[in-house]
């Protein structure tokens, strides 16, 4: 695709706000937002018939779009798409109300009806209506024209709307994941950066595996990825620009730079510098390239992560004593350091929720690894996943789903040791593996796409 095509998409891009706003107004009148909390995980039954073409019959594109939406919603664990075999009512979109009496006996609480058909200039016309079957009310609708390449994104965005209308939380389906693809034996593992949609589609390898690469993280704009690269056997933080597909060394520092994360504002990047046996946390202003030291201890201070307002930083440190790795929060300027983790075991890789309320972490206790969450004052610890080696939680931008990786034990013959990505709802249910072409580790979930 080229820039002309992009402009064309922009030009033909139309939203019929009238329909959407009318639907929203209707929704406000009758809609009750259901917030799903722990213990309430009965999935919402939803009917998603294949989208139809102009002739009222199912179109190939319509089938594909409905299937993507259905997979997204089913994968969240919060929806139960009903079998299409039971659908007897007409699924055409004619602007009128469906006959709810046809849908209620199937047990459908929600009904998504849509139209999708190829139009001139390589575009697709899409229109959909989300109905609350129990109340007989329209709660969301939109229509527009998109490029053929945007087919999957539009389907994800429709799924996001359904998720939002039913849970009250933003959906996370129209997002991406960057991670480290792994292949080869445990002692000569080849690691490559790879990027994909959150459902595993549109998968691309970014680096060729010649250099060891670790811990990629998105910028808030989703245009840059900060990561650790062993180019020339000198491990340092690089920034990959997705638009130009080039990587740039962040800077030359005394010692190794690693553990990078962008600030939410995009103005700075925090990381660790290891030098002379000490690892401290530094912040770099990305405009001036000025670097400021935030911690100054003879210990290991690493894995820093910003609060969503960039006012504070959570990190892990062994300053409480050797072998006693714990979580600490400090102000953005390095002041006011206080320990927050108080439970048994070692705590690592803290990641502040994009909602700001809780912190996800890796915990090592009695030989097992866990993924957990705690409040920012260290209370309310809950462990969600456990395994031989589980590590590196990363938040969906809606702050209610985590992805991480699990690695199997390695056998002495070199077999085993595979790592894969998993996802879990923060209420601790619906753990699922993400399908990747090879082994996978160090996931980073993108912010909401621009």
């Amino acid at each position: 695709m080229n820039m002309d095509m992009t402009n064309k998409i922009l030009r033909i891009f139309i939203i019929l706000w009238g329909i959407f706003c009318a639907a929203s107004a209707m929704a406000q009148a009758v809609e009750e937002v259901i917030t799903i909390t722990e213990g309430n995980v009965e999935p919402t039954p939803i009917a998603i018939p294949d989208f139809v073409g102009a002739d009222g019959k199912v179109s190939a594109i319509g089938r594909e779009i409905a299937s993507i939406i259905s997979d997204d919603l089913e994968g969240s664990g919060l929806f139960r798409p009903l079998s299409a075999a039971a659908f007897i009512a007409p699924t055409a979109v004619d602007g009128g109300e469906p006959d709810f009496a046809d849908w209620r006996p199937l047990g459908a609480d929600a009904l998504l009806l849509g139209r999708a058909e190829a139009a001139a200039g390589g575009t697709i016309d899409v229109e959909f209506y989300l109905w609350d079957v129990l109340r007989g009310a329209l709660i969301g609708a939109a229509t527009g024209s998109i490029s053929t390449q945007a087919k999957r994104r539009i389907a994800h965005q429709i799924a996001d709307l359904v998720y939002k209308k039913w849970t009250g939380d933003d959906g996370y389906f129209d997002t991406r994941i960057v991670y480290v693809a792994e292949s080869g034996p445990a002692n000569k593992r080849i690691k490559r950066l790879a990027i994909m949609d959150q459902d595993g589609h549109n998968h691309q390898f970014i680096t060729d595996g010649a250099d060891l690469v670790l811990t990629p993280r998105f910028s808030q704009s989703v245009q840059e990825i900060a990561y650790l690269n062993y180019f020339n056997d000198e491990p340092n933080v690089y920034i990959l620009d997705l638009q130009s597909a080039t990587s740039e060394l962040l800077g030359s520092f005394p010692g190794m730079s690693f553990a990078p994360r962008f600030s939410y504002s995009g103005e700075s990047l925090i990381m660790s510098l290891a030098r002379d046996g000490k690892t401290n946390i530094y912040v770099m202003n990305l405009s001036t390239r000025q670097i400021t030291q935030l911690t100054n201890t003879p210990y290991i201070d690493t894995s820093p992560s910003y609060a969503p307002d960039d006012s504070q930083i959570v990190f892990n440190s062994d300053r409480a004593g050797k072998g006693n790795q714990q979580l600490y929060i400090m102000d953005h300027n390095g002041r006011n350091v206080r320990r927050i983790s108080r439970g048994k075991g070692r705590y690592a890789t803290p990641v502040w929720s994009p909602r700001g309320d809780i912190i996800a972490f890796t915990k090592i206790y009695k030989g097992d690894f866990y993924i957990g969450v705690m409040n920012t004052d260290g209370t309310g610890e809950r462990l969600l996943a456990r395994g031989f080696l589980v590590e590196a939680p990363t938040w969906a931008p809606n702050g209610r789903v985590l992805t991480y990786f699990k690695q199997n034990p390695t056998n002495e013959d070199g077999s085993g040791g595979e790592a894969y990505l998993y996802r879990i709802d923060i209420t601790g249910f619906n753990e699922r593996r993400l399908i990747t072409p090879q082994g996978a580790s160090d996931p980073a979930w993108s912010p909401f796409l621009p």
Partner: protein
């Protein structure tokens, strides 16, 4: 609102076309085995030096989550210091490693601390610090394969490699 514009699309298609390009200037980064190039001397001399270093002990081991040198490690490093004294043209890289029972970033720091501990000891023995480079591989390059105590013990190490 729901039909957001697809600004990333062009970038990613371009990306697919440049899958292997990382856009860095410089060399292709080959020769990463560490022992392929000597800073001075002939290939034969380098071979001999590598053999000698292997004989006297090229690595020291550490307790779990520790970068403290024990008595045995110090003895090995004294021999390495003497070796470096006998071979003034040799430069080394000390590679610090960790076992797999820690998180990735913490283990990178731990590997650096182990390499630094070995380097500091050599420097205290009179080796010029400019002859020693350090690098941490964290848990990325295990020497022993297997998820068991014996393998983990072998993998918690700092290895001196001739540049």
């Amino acid at each position: 609102m729901i039909f957001r514009v697809l600004t990333l699309l062009a970038a990613l298609v371009m990306l697919a076309a440049c899958e292997t390009a990382s856009g860095r200037s410089g060399t292709d980064g080959s020769g990463s085995d560490g022992a392929t190039v000597s800073s001075a001397g002939t290939a034969e001399q380098t071979e001999a030096a590598i053999a000698e270093l292997t004989t006297i002990g090229d690595r020291v081991h550490f307790d779990f989550d520790s970068y403290a040198l024990n008595l045995l490690s110090k003895e090995v490093l004294r021999r390495q210091a003497a070796f470096l004294g006998r071979n003034p043209s040799v430069r080394i890289t000390i590679e610090g490693h960790a076992d797999e029972r820690g998180t990735r970033e913490y283990n990178l720091a731990l590997g650096e601390s182990r390499a630094a501990a070995a380097r500091d000891f050599l420097v205290a023995q009179g080796v010029n610090p400019s002859r020693i480079k350090t690098i941490s591989y964290g848990k990325e390059r295990p020497a022993a394969i297997g998820s068991n105590e014996n393998a983990w013990k072998q993998n918690r190490r700092a290895v001196s490699v001739i540049q």
